[in-house]
Symmetry: C2
Amino acid sequence: MSQENSPPVIGFSPRVRKSPFFDATRRYGCTAYTVYNHMFMPTAYGDPVDDYWRLANDVAICDVAVERQVEIAGPDAFDLVRMLTPRNLETMKVGQCKYVLLTDENGGIVNDPVLLRLADDRFWLSLADSDVLLWAKGVAHGSGMDVEIAEPDVSPLMIQGPKAAGLARDLFGDWVDELKYFWFREVELDGMPLLVARTGYSSERAYELYLRDGRFGDCLWERVVEAGRPYNIGPATPSQISRIEAGLLSYGADMTLNENPFELGLDRLVDLEQDVDFVGKAALRRIAADGVRRRMAGVEIHGPELPEVNEEPWPVEKDGRPVGKVTSCVHSPRLEKNIGFALLEAPLAELGTELTLKASFGDVAMTVVPMPFLKSA
Amino acid sequence: MSQENSPPVIGFSPRVRKSPFFDATRRYGCTAYTVYNHMFMPTAYGDPVDDYWRLANDVAICDVAVERQVEIAGPDAFDLVRMLTPRNLETMKVGQCKYVLLTDENGGIVNDPVLLRLADDRFWLSLADSDVLLWAKGVAHGSGMDVEIAEPDVSPLMIQGPKAAGLARDLFGDWVDELKYFWFREVELDGMPLLVARTGYSSERAYELYLRDGRFGDCLWERVVEAGRPYNIGPATPSQISRIEAGLLSYGADMTLNENPFELGLDRLVDLEQDVDFVGKAALRRIAADGVRRRMAGVEIHGPELPEVNEEPWPVEKDGRPVGKVTSCVHSPRLEKNIGFALLEAPLAELGTELTLKASFGDVAMTVVPMPFLKSA
């Protein structure tokens, strides 16, 4: 029982896949991994605050190959995709990305992918951490829809930070400057097949390079690092600090099958009036009519810098009564504040509500504040 | 780039859940974790060979709470369960467990859970690592079936090893001696609600104690350890060595959506003649008629003890030609041999075939041998 205080290592085994960029992440000093969509994902290259400043000041290269793609193709592909999400996709163009929620029959969140339209009849769902391949296949089963659903060999590599724009221009040419937020283009780089999307996971400028042949993983990584030297590029992980500053929720932590879009304040991603019978529509209609009991709120956690962040939800109380939980929290070096997300009894999600966080290290006062904490660059 | 050789740690975060036994596993010296079904799973308490001998000689306590349960209940529950698996369940009784495969529309393996029948109209699928909750909900969607599908608060704790029988008798009473292999009983232990099943993941005697209230995790662990002292109980992880000796495949490593039951030699788990239109039936009929191109085989890998085991599939060649891959391998201290599973071109899966393994450390000769390597106790 002596090893309680040494940090446990991650067990590698053939049950969990390595990303095409895995060797590079090891070589560049990755010190911690988690597992996401049955693959290893880097979570640290040393001090997360260093990664954060690189992302805030320069440009970071991040292995996000765990964002697996579910490809839905065929004559009924658009119908199936529309059945999977409450968002209205009527006007979605080829070349466009959309942030969407997938909901189950109760309106609970199955996943919050980025949807890409590659052709009229071909889509990718670029996933958060749940088996949407099984979900989509299951929903399609017995529907009589003429679709092919599979996971293609596609592995995103992200560059993000204020200098990502210059780096992308050097890599791909001037057209990248014209690429609008949440649009993509299919290209080749030194013979490597890519799709370049202007999407990310922070308030900073970002591009995701969807590598369409895993054999080139190491080659693409080194090509990007080489081109990134003038921009002080370095490896990083998707920054928890940056994504919380930007008000971006993390599937599994901040939302699960037990939360619905309205509780999360994501009403803009639900269209109950559209003429599509998406999964969860009846339940979401009911919830919209009845109103929600819980609401996600931004919170500022008072006192000095948090000595540790939560590894599980931390309870929240109001006058000694349990009223919710903090799902994610972090110290923001830029804002010089502790910030987080709290899922609270709906009336308490009003701005200015004062609450008590029951943190692992003791009680701390906190206040409901506006989200996002930081506007997009 | 200096940290290439230090073992990376596991990143803890609220995105991945902790088991009710997590604190106990930390306290008892767990040194490595992986993630399985979106939860942390212990993979080492030091030397895996020590764990192996404990399991071979005494009794081990293993946190297997990652075996999440999908509960399917309601008037059409049996119909839905039968639709999810090619195994014929016609004669399945309440109180019985069955090892089943779930297949997709192509006959590929979605999961290989243990199915438990709690009542005529209530079932649990005790899962390997994939989101069967989404799969089952998806298949049920639009089927018109009257079922409730959810994940209950149930967390299995396993005791296994030759002394597990004595320990189970001390904990639960003499009736446990009468509990047949793959049967279960619902009981209370000091007020803790449990379901005790005679199931495991090795050739040794084993019981899984399905804890039905996560708040009692630490309490159950300590109760079992206390009762296990006379039997030299100690913490361990599901042993890779033991499960390979027993010929037990691991989902994600040895089988995935890309393999079908016939390729895996699991024909006994498929009944194409039954009057049930299970998912994948048409595809499996076609595969049965055409024959398979690949087959899983047991292999003995020659030479000295393997210096390392595979972290990804290792290629296999015959006379310089690629013919398949080793999906799992290990050194068996009891058999004093290196053993493993190889997915091979079907004609080469014949006993006695000699092959070359392209291991990370060099080429090694290997031979197809009978499975399992060790018979059940």
